[in-house]
Amino acid sequence: MDGSVETDPARLERLADEELMAVVDAKVAAAFEVLYDRHGAAAYSLAYRIVGDRNGAEDVAQEAFLSIWRSNARYDRARGSVRSWVLSVVRNRAIDALRRGSGSAPKLDHDDEMLLEAREAEERTDAEALRRETSRELQGALGTLPDDQSQVIRLAYFGGFSHSEIADMLGMPLGTVKGRMRLGLEKIRVQLAEAIGPEAALEGT
C-alpha cells in the first residue's frame, strides 16, 4: 500500500481479507466494519456452539473481535485464512469462557439432549459434555467420520478437553483417544483434498 492506508469504504469492501487485515491494524474503523460483516455471523455461531447460550456467545464474539481490533491477537498468514484465524480466536475465547465456568445457562432448543442438559446444568460437567458431543447430529466433515473418531474430536474442539480428560470420560486408553483424533483429522484432510471432485483433481500429482 506504499504507506498510504485505504479508507474508502467502497474499496475496502473489495479488498481480500488478508489485505483488509493490514487496514484494520492501521485502526481504520471502516475496515473493521467490513471484517465484522464478513465473519461476525460465523464467529457468533461458533461461540454459540461452544458456550451454548446467546448472551455468552455474544460476549465471546465481542471479546474476540475487540482483541483483534486492539491487535492483542495478530493475524499471521502462515496460520491460514483470515476466516480460520478469526474462528481460532473465537474458539480460544469460548473455551476460556467455558473453563471459567461463566455461569451462563445452556441454550434451549429442539435438541432433546440439549434440553436434558439444560435441566441438569447447574454446572458444566464432563458427563454433560459427553452426552452432548455423543448425541449431536452431524453434518459436514465431522459427520462423515465414524462416531468414535468424531466424538473425540468434538470433545476436544468444542469442549476444550485434553486427550487425557477425554480418555477418562470415555474410559479408554489414552493411546486410543489420540489415535482416533489422528485418524479422524487425517480423514477430514483427505476429504478436503477431494472436496471439489475428481474432475478438479490435478493430473500428474
Partner: protein, 245 residues
C-alpha cells in the same frame, strides 16, 4: 527405517492432539520443543491444521445479534485512528441477506437462477495463455491466464498473475442468491485447495477480485459461489477455473 518408524510411533498421534489443542500444557511444551527441530512434524501439523480449521465450518450458522455489531462499532469508532465518516444504516434484524452499503448501489445480490449450482460440472483447462510485460516494470513480467467456465455457465474470466499475487477479472457471472458471495480458491500442485478472497459482482455479472498471495507454485485458481462470508472448503464444483500449470 527404524528411526523413522520410532519417530512415527512416538509423535504422530501427538501432532493430531496438538492440532486440536488437546495436549495438556506440559505435553504441549514437550511437543513444541520437538517441533522446532522436526520438519516432518511441522509439515504434518500444517497438513492437519487445515482439517481442524474445517471443524467450525460445520457449525449451524446463525445471524449475529444486531446489538453485537452496534456495540463493537461504537467501541471501534471511539478508538479508531480513522473513524467511520458516516453512520451506517441499521442492519435489518434477523436477516440473512448481506447488508450492502449504499455506495455499492448497483451491486445488489438478488436471488435468481435457483438450482444452477448443483448442475455445474467443471471443465478444466486453460483457454488462453499469454505472457506480457507490464509497462511500468519491464523486468517483472505478468501473465494473463484465461479462465474456463463450467458447462452451463456463460461466464468468462481472466487471471492476471504477477509473482505470488494477482487479480481475477470476471464477467457474465450469474447473480448470487440472497447473501451468497463468490469466492476464489487456490489449488496447489498437491491437489490441496485453499480459500482466497471473497467478492461480489455488479448487476451485469462483472467484477474484479484480488488474489493477494499464494499464486507462486499454484496449479489453478477457481471460483465458487459460497454462503455469506465465504467458506473454508468449496461448497460446490467451481463455476470457473484458471489453470496455471
Amino acid at each position: 527405517m527404524r528411526d523413522a518408524s520410532e519417530h512415527r510411533d512416538r509423535w504422530q498421534d501427538d501432532v493430531a492432539a496438538y492440532a486440536l489443542d488437546a495436549l495438556p500444557p506440559r505435553e504441549a511444551e514437550i511437543f513444541e520443543a520437538h517441533l522446532e527441530g522436526c520438519e516432518a512434524c511441522r509439515e504434518q501439523l500444517r497438513w492437519l491444521t487445515v482439517a481442524v480449521d474445517q471443524i467450525p465450518q460445520d457449525v449451524e450458522q446463525l445471524p449475529a445479534p444486531p446489538q453485537l455489531r452496534d456495540r463493537l462499532l461504537s467501541v471501534v469508532d471511539s478508538e479508531a485512528e480513522v473513524p467511520r465518516e458516516t453512520t451506517a444504516p441499521e442492519p435489518a434484524p434477523e436477516t440473512r441477506v448481506r447488508r450492502l452499503p449504499s455506495f455499492l448501489g448497483g451491486f445488489s445480490m438478488r436471488p435468481a437462477l435457483a438450482g444452477l449450482a448443483a448442475a455445474l460440472v467443471l471443465v478444466a483447462g486453460v483457454v488462453g495463455y499469454q505472457l506480457h510485460d507490464s509497462g511500468g516494470d519491464p523486468g517483472d513480467g505478468t501473465r494473463t491466464v484465461s479462465a474456463q467456465a463450467a458447462k452451463g455457465v456463460d461466464s468468462s474470466g481472466a487471471l492476471e498473475v504477477e509473482g505470488d499475487h494477482g487479480s481475477l477479472r470476471v464477467s457474465g457471472m450469474p447473480p448470487t442468491h440472497g447473501g451468497d458471495v463468490y469466492q476464489a480458491w487456490i489449488q496447489d500442485r498437491d491437489g490441496g485447495v485453499h480459500p482466497s478472497s471473497v467478492f461480489v459482482v455488479a448487476d451485469d455479472g462483472s467484477g474484479v477480485v484480488s488474489i493477494p498471495s499464494g499464486l507462486d507454485g499454484a496449479a489453478a485458481v477457481m471460483v465458487t459461489r459460497e454462503p455469506r462470508g465465504g467458506s473454508e472448503t468449496p461448497s460446490e464444483p467451481p463455476l470457473m477455473t484458471a489453470r496455471l500449470d
